[in-house]
Amino acid sequence: MSQSSSSPNPFISASGAKPTCMQMLQFMLDNEVTSEQKEYFKNHMDGCMPCFKTYQLDMAIKELLKNKCCGGDAPSELVDQIRSQIAQKIS
């Protein structure tokens, strides 16, 4: 891509290893990126269809997981049970 000639890939690790698309994707997905890396990847996606499609899909799955698999409340009596158990242990 044109960007790679102008600026070095900020994903290149200390060992000098060039990251694969999949590795960059995962860092993006897990939000383990610097703003510089994020910018680089966004540019990269413009020219890399597999990355673009996979990123869209993976983010959609992540969103779905968040919406569907959490947010439920613990049973209301649980806190009281914990408190009374601790009170027993202390006394």
Partner: protein, 197 residues
Amino acid sequence: MIEESPRQHYTDREKEEIFNKEFLPHINSMYNFGYRLTLDRDDAKDLVQDTYLKAYRFIESFQKGTNAKAWLFRILKNSFINDYRKKSKEPNKVDYQEVETYYNSEEVDRQITPDLRVEALKDMIGDEISNALNALDVDFRTVIILCDLEGFKYEEMAKILDIPIGTVRSRLHRARQLLKEKLSDYAKSMGYKNADV
């Protein structure tokens, strides 16, 4: 425990305050974690209760104001392994060596295009994703919960799970592949005939 901080000394009032302000606010996340691990609401309650009792008992190894959530998650995970996993039959231990090799191989990038489409996900308005997650092997399920549901960073996950960061990453990668395979099956059953092109 998680940061190996020196033993603290707290008055009863301080303990109470830490417990109320730093530990209890995480109870819903803890319960969800417990439920996703045990897949049973009663077991989840017991597990969360055990975890909070342990957290209180070892409160002086927790440094006030540090990462209580990660500390609590680590206790819960350990309780699960020690107390629950032994009881249940879970013979299919994952071969992580294989996972690592897989992750580092050149083959991976070639199958980067998944056989699943964003449009298919939009129709998964029921329990499909939850069932798909629950069907994963517990070690794979765990990393998805910690990362995607709870937003822990690699470093925190490594501490919670007592595994190197590289293993966190490879396990996450594999977990996501497996999850996609399951979601792709759902998509096909919902009539997305060209789910796998």
